[in-house]
């Protein structure tokens, strides 16, 4: 969606008026449906219930992971708390044949791609390298270096284009996830340029959770992020990132446009990181709790519940069943995490190269000899 005519001047003292942001919303925080002419969404009650289920389950998985990290079972965890709707809405818009490139926080998208959350725990516990098979789920591995994946996604999208998988009934598309902070990186801006001039079949899905560790949005931008897309030559739009229906609808439309050969779209999902940046962070050092409180009123799960509790939609037993399922998943992944075997020390020499390598082999041998020298000297080791 293109930027509407220039709106009010910004509150800042600046000559260029910044167009007033427009927020696409289909479900209000109070649970009212607010249809949008550009984003019609026909969903049955069962479909909305299943979105609700996903939201609750991914929040529970996240919750368990934080608890496991606190108990020392995981090295670190990056919580998705508050971003469930952005992730589930966009994740459910993907077709199995589409490809997703996540950051380190996309546990909700992982869930929608059919990834067992235990895989995520294995990754953050450090017991496996890589975590999962990206081809099995069309869900790439987590990326830590901020913004790098947007270029990988762009290159991948250009590959799809070259394979002739764009246009037609069963076109494919790519979605690249990144944060508000990432928009300041050269890589991300370069990926916009590349995707634009190549008309690549890609959706840039920015979860603007208002923070990049301790840096607030004002550090990264003076214009609403989605408005940047126009300068790169493709449409950008802002969606209520806490509204799972709107996230689903706008992402579906953008992906469809990409699959049909109409090129990139940037979606700014306006949301909030309700938790810490990661389990090593303490957000009270840099932000006010009032901000968090105001976002709690826009909770992504509560509004779907508010909608569903209307007469004739979902009964108490539905909510009870979802909670029971969440308990079950929580117990399962907790148990799985606590019983994961430690990797063999020599496994660190695997996969440095695809083929056998003399240098790595020599070091592996030395390490093996060193380890076994302990065994003989001191059996207790």
């Amino acid at each position: 969606m293109a930027v509407k005519a220039a709106g009010r001047a910004s509150s800042r003292n600046h000559d260029n008026p910044i167009p007033k942001p427009e927020l696409i919303q289909l479900l209000t925080p109070e649970g009212e449906l607010t249809p949008h002419p550009d984003y019609p969404l026909e969903l049955s009650v069962d479909e909305i219930k299943s979105l609700y289920r996903d939201l609750v389950l991914v929040r529970r998985i996240d919750f368990e992971a934080i608890a496991l990290q606190r108990k020392g079972e995981l090295g670190i965890w990056a919580s998705l708390l508050g971003q469930e709707a952005a992730q589930v809405g966009s994740g459910r818009a993907l077709e199995p044949r589409d490809m997703a490139f996540p950051t380190y926080r996309e546990h909700g998208v992982a869930w929608c791609r059919g990834l067992d959350p235990v895989k995520l725990l294995e990754l953050f516990r450090g017991v496996n390298f890589g975590g999962w098979d990206p081809r099995e789920h069309n869900f790439h591995l987590y990326t830590i270096v901020i913004g790098a994946q947007t270029l990988h996604a762009t290159g991948y999208a250009m590959g799809i284009q070259r394979d002739g998988a764009v246009g037609g009934e069963d076109g494919e598309a790519v979605i690249a996830y990144f944060g508000d902070g990432a928009t300041s990186q050269g890589d991300v801006n370069e990926s916009f340029i590349w995707a634009s001039v190549n008309n690549a079949p890609i959706v840039f899905f920015c979860q603007n959770n208002q923070w990049a560790i301790s840096a607030p949005l004002e550090k990264q931008t003076r214009v609403p992020l989605y408005q940047r897309a126009q300068g790169f030559g493709f449409p950008g739009l802002r969606v209520d990132g806490n509204d799972v229906l709107a996230c689903l609808a706008v992402t579906r439309k953008a992906l469809q446009a990409a699959r049909e050969g109409q090129g990139p779209t940037m979606i700014e999902a306006y949301t909030y990181r309700m938790g810490a940046h990661t389990t090593t962070d303490d957000p009270t050092r840099y932000r006010l709790s009032a901000e968090l409180e105001s976002w709690k009123l826009k909770d992504p799960i509560e509004r779907v519940r508010q909608y569903l509790i209307r007469p004739g939609l979902a009964k108490e037993d539905f909510f009870a069943a979802v909670n029971a399922e969440a308990d079950e998943i929580g117990a399962r992944i907790r148990q799985a995490c606590e019983t994961m075997p430690d990797p063999e020390p020599l496994s660190m020499f695997d996969h440095v190269y695809a083929e056998p390598n003399a240098l790595v082999a020599a070091e592996r041998e030395q390490a093996a000899a060193y380890i076994s020298s302990f065994m003989t000297e001191d059996g207790a080791r």
Binding site: G75, I76, R125, G126, V127, F129, I144, V145, I146, G181, A182, S184, Q185, G186, D187, A212, I213, S214, A215, K219, Q220, R285, Y286, D342, P343, P345, S347, M348, F349, V352, L359, V360, E363, A367, Y370
Partner: protein, 344 residues
């Protein structure tokens, strides 16, 4: 930090008082150095990701925003190339920026600015344009942050003409190297090993700037020279303790400055002990340890009673699991084992 510690950082030219040693961590020593620089020279400012409100990813600059304000403690957008490049511009314009990069791995996003620009500008401008910039960054492994946060690339930067590379391993150097680096007319990179920030000890209350052109003997000995720097110094010292138990007296050298290297100190020690073990967290191939070893071979070959040995990081991306990570790094035991082997 207590206000008592704050007071000691008055310009040292002030009246000499009997210096009471203060207990301080490496992190606090670094912070004291930054604070002193900000107080002494109003051209100095600090910028980087999360350095202000957050107090730095490793809490080095905690409290400095409150003390010096946002003009001098500048939180930047998330863009390493931009804030290093802007630091170069500011330095060219007469400022004395301290740029903080979260970890050495992310300095790679700014490598063009560091290497193609900061390091070459003086030469390529016929001496007209200097870049008196200081870049600080965390280096090294051991904190379970996985490969993209944990490498030791200071040896790599030490390859580059035009740069000076410092690796403060002690409290004194954490406290004293920064000011000397800021006074330098050329770009200086300071590598702070992540495992050191919590190390605590005592410093004289009037501790201040130190030289950056000499290596230091951190423990004298006559049987073998252990050469290390930064995060491996403590491990080399621990190895020396173990060796002492076996009756081997190891001399431990802290390189301190990785470019330019203090050849004389290295050769002098080797000429006395005739045996050398190099401990370096960087990968062995093409490493700083390789460079030091080559210099010993060139300059003191006939002094050696045994081949030079190197204990380096395993030639793999640093693994994330704690026990794998520890196995990938030089450890006191592996350094001591190498020393026993050369002593024979």
């Amino acid at each position: 930090m207590t206000s008592g510690q704050t007071r000691q950082h008055r310009p040292r030219a002030a009246r000499k008082r009997p210096a009471e040693p203060v207990t301080i961590t490496y992190r606090e020593a670094m912070r004291a150095a930054i604070r002193e620089a900000l107080q002494r020279d109003d051209r100095v400012f600090l910028m980087g990701e999360d350095v202000g409100r957050y107090g730095g990813c490793f809490a080095v600059s905690l409290g400095l925003l409150e003390e010096f304000g946002p003009e001098r403690i500048r939180d930047t957008p998330l863009s390493e190339s931009a804030f290093v490049g802007a630091g170069i511009g500011a330095a060219m314009g007469g400022m004395r920026p301290i740029v903080e990069i979260m970890t050495v791995n992310f300095s790679l996003l700014a490598l063009d600015q560091i290497m193609n620009n900061a390091a070459t500008l003086r030469h390529m401008s016929g001496g007209q344009v200097g870049v008196p910039l200081v870049i600080r960054m965390t280096t090294g492994a051991g904190r379970q942050l996985a490969a993209q946060h944990s490498h030791s690339l200071e040896g790599w930067f030490a390859h580059i003409p035009g740069l000076k590379i410092l690796a403060p391993a002690t409290l004194e150097d954490a406290r004293g190297m920064l000011w000397t680096a800021l006074a330098d007319p050329d770009p200086v990179l300071i590598f702070e090993h992540g495992s050191l920030y919590n190390v605590s000890g005592t410093l004289p209350a009037d501790a201040g700037p130190v030289g950056i052109d000499r290596a230091a003997i951190r423990r004298p000995g006559r049987d073998v020279t252990l050469i290390s720097y930064g995060g491996t110094l403590g491990k080399a010292l621990a190895a020396a303790d173990r060796l002492a138990g076996d009756g081997i007296e190891a001399e431990v050298i802290d390189l301190r400055t990785l470019r330019p290297l203090d050849d004389a100190a290295i050769i002098d020690s080797v000429s006395r002990t005739h045996r050398v073990v190099l401990a370096d967290e960087g990968w062995r191939s093409g490493s700083l340890a390789a460079e030091v070893s080559a210099r010993i071979t060139e300059q003191a070959f006939y002094q050696l009673d045994a081949p030079v040995q190197r204990v380096c990081g395993a030639e793999v991306p640093i693994p994330y699991a704690r026990h794998l990570e520890q196995a990938a790094l030089p450890q006191p035991e592996t350094i001591a084992a190498a020393a026993r082997a050369v002593v024979g």
